[in-house]
Symmetry: C2
Subunit: 249 residues, 2 copies
Amino acid sequence: MTLESSRRQPAKATRCERCTLHARCLPLGLELDALESFEAIIQHPRPLKRGEVLVRQGGTFESLFVVRSGSLKQSVAQEGQRDQVTHFYLPGEVVGLDGIGEDNCYGSVVAMESTFVCELPFHRLEDLAEQLPELRGQLYRCMSRELRNDQRMMCLLSGRTADQRLASFMLGLSERFRLRGFSPYRFHLSMSRSDIGSYLGLALETVSRVLARFQQQSLATVAGRELTIHDMEALVALAEEGVGRHSGG
Amino acid sequence: MTLESSRRQPAKATRCERCTLHARCLPLGLELDALESFEAIIQHPRPLKRGEVLVRQGGTFESLFVVRSGSLKQSVAQEGQRDQVTHFYLPGEVVGLDGIGEDNCYGSVVAMESTFVCELPFHRLEDLAEQLPELRGQLYRCMSRELRNDQRMMCLLSGRTADQRLASFMLGLSERFRLRGFSPYRFHLSMSRSDIGSYLGLALETVSRVLARFQQQSLATVAGRELTIHDMEALVALAEEGVGRHSGG
DNA sequence: GGTTGCGGTTGATTCAGGTCAAGGAAGGGG
DNA sequence: CCCCTTCCTTGACCTGAATCAACCGCAACC
């Protein structure tokens, strides 16, 4: 379900070329005129404020979204259970791939701070992809990358300790920021401890404690939501370390 | 990496229409002549014996595979850690979607019993999809279905107890067998306790104990690898039940 | 027939992390 | 300014599941 069109901003022509995310976004590799056709289908819902809903669980699937600035989380509400955070989305990442080929959306997607997105109505994107092999390739690539990420996540959730989960989480974010041209050593966590806990399958208290421990060990500093990584190598070693018999060795 | 072509069986024309899985397979919804073009690209590697490798982790991605009979598991080997089972594949399911748009395969796929597959060389499939919107749609649908399954799995792995994981697992298998025309109440587990444990993020001893408990509670009977479900409703209730504060309530 | 090895079960023990509880810091609204 | 709420931290305690270990059944093989 998209935002009501009455609230949409007047269509400003988007120039992907000028976008700082161009090198990491969906239309990557499109020729000039292909890019123009692509830009023509982009819509811009009004900016979202912290806590606002972009996609409502169970709502009709109509569009993919690309984060332009800000960040969002996807969470899944299940029968009689607390919401569970399944994804965080940073600028340049595609929201809604899991809705393709289904009528309705699997989870809700909520802004964690002021957030701008580009909206891509899926039927128009599909039409366009029919003519642009490059775009088709990009779509497949996005989806399979997400499949691999989810699998990595499944491995993380089943075999690793709380420390290792947090280390992997921090390294993952660090890498994503680095790829987007930000510092991989120092960045802002837009999600709460509770979101992190839900995402990593830990109680929020555990998240808090592990972060404190990392700080004692001089691996990283966490001041509120400002994270500074001091010892990347140690974090990598921790994240990859095998434990026990069941999860590795 | 596919099996060496020298070992391939002579190309027998495949008739998807005649296949019992037709209604649940990739070419679903193709017109007659489209179906013929599809059948033309199908190859048949020789049948796999238990333990044989269909896809080797890190090998070049070339093909998707559809299970025709038998079953396989995907497992991921990580730096200094035990292999982790990430998927089980039953007849009609598509293997290899996570390799699309990457040079090499994310995990290894191994037969758990004598298994036949149809091989679809991806570049040929892509060419064909260019002409067949229906096929494109089916590919997207498969991938997004897998994305949703992985998310469900992530939720299962982070918030649920051992009993709930096993209950969900059994119900998931039951449903998959049902959809394929087999009994949802009584079926064969082609995977070991250790595979189940790895998949569900549990020690194999825990799997064994929980199964024994289910038996005591008359929820199901497990004789070796023959599983009989006695109380489907109770299992559903167990699987959906909220626990504690962190995972629900 | 004995041996070896794998898969599975069961028991005893341990511990990582969940739960409960209390309180502090920060931000927003009246 | 205070109040209220939300987020975070820290401590005490408890428990579910991992670990360690012994053992059984069975099939393959010599």
